[in-house]
């Protein structure tokens, strides 16, 4: 296995299955994004996103960093047409997704691949089926049903898994996998999807440093080869600064900085991650001039 697997799926297989125009959907037509003063409110006192404006060009690779709860996942959901913003303008590939008709919105969503932080894989499913589920938007119902009985394109799934060194897990059940393996299986699904933009939420959270590096490189390389846009939220600041040409720092739903990694200073990073309860991030001196720590909110309703 080898050279073929290294090239990656998608390139040597332009049209793996007849139903969907994969070539047209995938490589070539990358997707650009524009947010114009976007706010998202989940009903608390604090907004998940507050007045965020940003533009991401087709084919760009962007890392989103910031402390937990900064709004990274919300931002990815808004960019992926998976969450409607409460205020502001959203434009994906030149269109406002929420003005589109149902079928047009589905077609747009098929061109965006959102990978959530928790791998969305049913425990009882086999890896091959979980990966090939990435092809669902391009399959007819008959193809989807047939593939449940006998996987439609195991070779495509194996190649995608091979990029993450998981090719021997092809026929394993998802619940026999470790957390890190599940995470990479859900990324293999992204590779077979033929999407023109990847919006990946913390792809490395369950991976050791070596695997994290390999995984990130596979994602970046695949996106580059296909001319697809890649937006990744990350907690690994060093990797974000090392591997991405553009880094956006989010904190409390606001963009704190948005620039090339060379222009991101240590001070920017400590300011971004300063924790009001525990103080500055380890190894930094900087302190935020705020008052007393805010009192933790009490749950309003629970059973």
């Amino acid at each position: 296995m080898t050279s073929r697997a290294r090239q990656g799926p998608g390139q040597d297989r332009g049209e793996p299955d007849g139903a969907g125009p994969v070539g047209a959907d995938g490589a070539g037509a990358a997707v650009g994004f524009r947010l114009d003063r976007v706010s998202v409110n989940f009903g608390g006192t604090r907004r998940a996103l507050s007045d965020v404006s940003l533009e991401i060009r087709p084919g760009e690779q962007v890392a989103l960093i910031g402390p937990s709860g900064a709004g990274k996942t919300t931002a990815l959901s808004v960019l992926g047409a998976a969450l409607r913003a409460d205020e502001g303008g959203v434009s994906i590939d030149g269109q406002d997704p929420w003005q589109l008709s149902g079928p047009a919105l589905r077609a747009l969503r098929a061109r965006l691949f959102i990978a959530p932080q928790t791998p969305p894989l049913p425990a009882r499913q086999r890896v091959v089926t979980a990966v090939l589920a990435g092809r669902l938007p391009h399959w007819s119902l008959a193809q989807a049903l047939r593939s449940l009985a006998l996987p439609a394109d195991p070779e495509l799934a194996r190649q995608a898994l091979a990029r993450f060194s998981l090719q021997d897990k092809l026929w394993t059940r998802v619940d026999r996998l470790s957390g890190g393996e599940r995470q990479r299986v859900s990324l293999a699904r992204a590779l077979v999807s033929g999407a023109a933009a990847f919006l990946i939420d913390e792809p490395l959270s369950a991976l050791d440093p070596t695997l994290a590096l390999q995984t990130l490189d596979v994602l970046a390389q695949t996106a580059r080869d296909r001319g697809a846009t890649l937006i990744c939220s990350l907690h690994q600041v060093d990797l974000a600064l090392d591997r991405f040409p553009r880094v956006i720092g989010l904190r409390d739903g606001n963009i704190v900085f948005d620039r090339a990694p060379a222009k991101v200073s240590g001070d920017d990073i400590s300011r971004l991650y300063y924790n009001r309860d525990t103080g500055p991030a380890p190894g930094t001196e900087w302190t935020l001039e705020t008052g007393a720590a805010p009192s933790p909110g009490r749950p309003s309703r629970c059973f």
Binding site: R111, R124, L148
Partner: protein, 282 residues
């Protein structure tokens, strides 16, 4: 010491479980509501134990032994049991065919229109309509449906099959929806967000999680359908129920006992098949 210790009363207030009062109130309310219901249903279990009723139930049960085991009767019971199983199976299959599309329409978890925003008014209305249809179908007891169909198609198993089909469409549709709603949202949501159809999200996201529950519930319902078809036998639906009705009227306790044993065997069979399939799908 960087900060002064907080006063103990404030600390206590922070540690008080915010859900406790509501839970307590709910429990007291439930108990208060239960009391008038016990009164209304004339719940007096001690009546079971007075000498008169003990003697009556003793006589009734004593007539059950020995079970009737003569050859002719056993053949008759086997034939009736076969009709009963056929009514239950055919009725459940038709009910299943009705319930599956309604489930797929009614399950909010599989809604395209509500990905990332509140559900649109039209789909929400459609879902509500499906819910009302299911409520209507299962709120009419199968016995009433059977009496209606007996007038249309005459005495015999067909009325029972149709009655079970309608009621069980309502029951299966409701519980299937609820089983699907209680699966983990992640898998089906991720598929919908990435442009899959509702059926794609169902088959690849929700069904793998829910398959064992759906299967065991369906088999349990088959068990219930066997019991229902017996009740409908009492009103002329054929099968074991009709035989049992006749045996009861002739005060032939032994025959009733034999038929009850057949029932137990059918229920045990359903239980066994259910466990087998659950193990297979788990």
């Amino acid at each position: 010491m960087p900060t002064a210790p907080r006063s103990p009363t404030r600390e206590d207030a922070r540690l008080r479980d915010p859900a406790w009062h509501l839970r307590l109130t709910m429990a007291v309310l439930a108990a208060l509501l239960l009391w008038p219901m016990l009164v209304a249903s004339e719940f007096k279990p001690w009546q079971l134990l007075d000498a008169h009723s003990l003697a009556a139930s003793g006589r009734f049960l004593a007539s059950f032994v020995p079970p009737a085991l003569d050859r002719d009767f056993l053949v008759l019971v086997a034939q009736s049991a076969w009709i009963t199983v056929a009514i239950a199976t055919a009725g459940l299959t038709l009910g299943w065919l009705g319930a599956v599309p309604l489930t797929l329409l009614g399950t909010a978890r599989l809604s395209q229109s509500s990905v990332g925003r509140p559900m649109r008014p039209l789909p929400a209305l459609g879902r509500q309509a499906v819910r009302w249809l299911l409520i209507f179908l299962r709120s009419v007891p199968e016995l009433v449906w059977a009496l209606l169909f007996v007038r249309v198609v005459g005495l015999g198993p067909t009325a029972g099959v149709l009655a079970i089909a309608l009621t069980y469409t309502g029951m299966l549709g409701k519980v299937y929806s609820e089983v699907l709603e209680s699966t983990e949202a992640g898998p089906s949501e991720a598929l919908l967000r990435n442009g899959s159809s509702r059926l794609g999200a169902f088959f690849y996201g929700a069904l793998p999680q829910a398959a064992p529950e759906l299967t065991s519930y369906t088999i349990f319902r088959w068990e219930c359908a066997v019991r229902s078809s017996v009740i409908m036998g009492f009103v002329g639906g054929g099968g074991l129920g009709q035989q049992m009705d006749m045996s009861m009227k002739m005060l032939a306790g032994g025959e009733v006992a034999t038929m009850l044993i057949v029932f137990m065997m059918l229920v045990a069979l359903a239980d066994h098949v259910s466990r087998l399939l659950r193990d297979r799908l788990a």
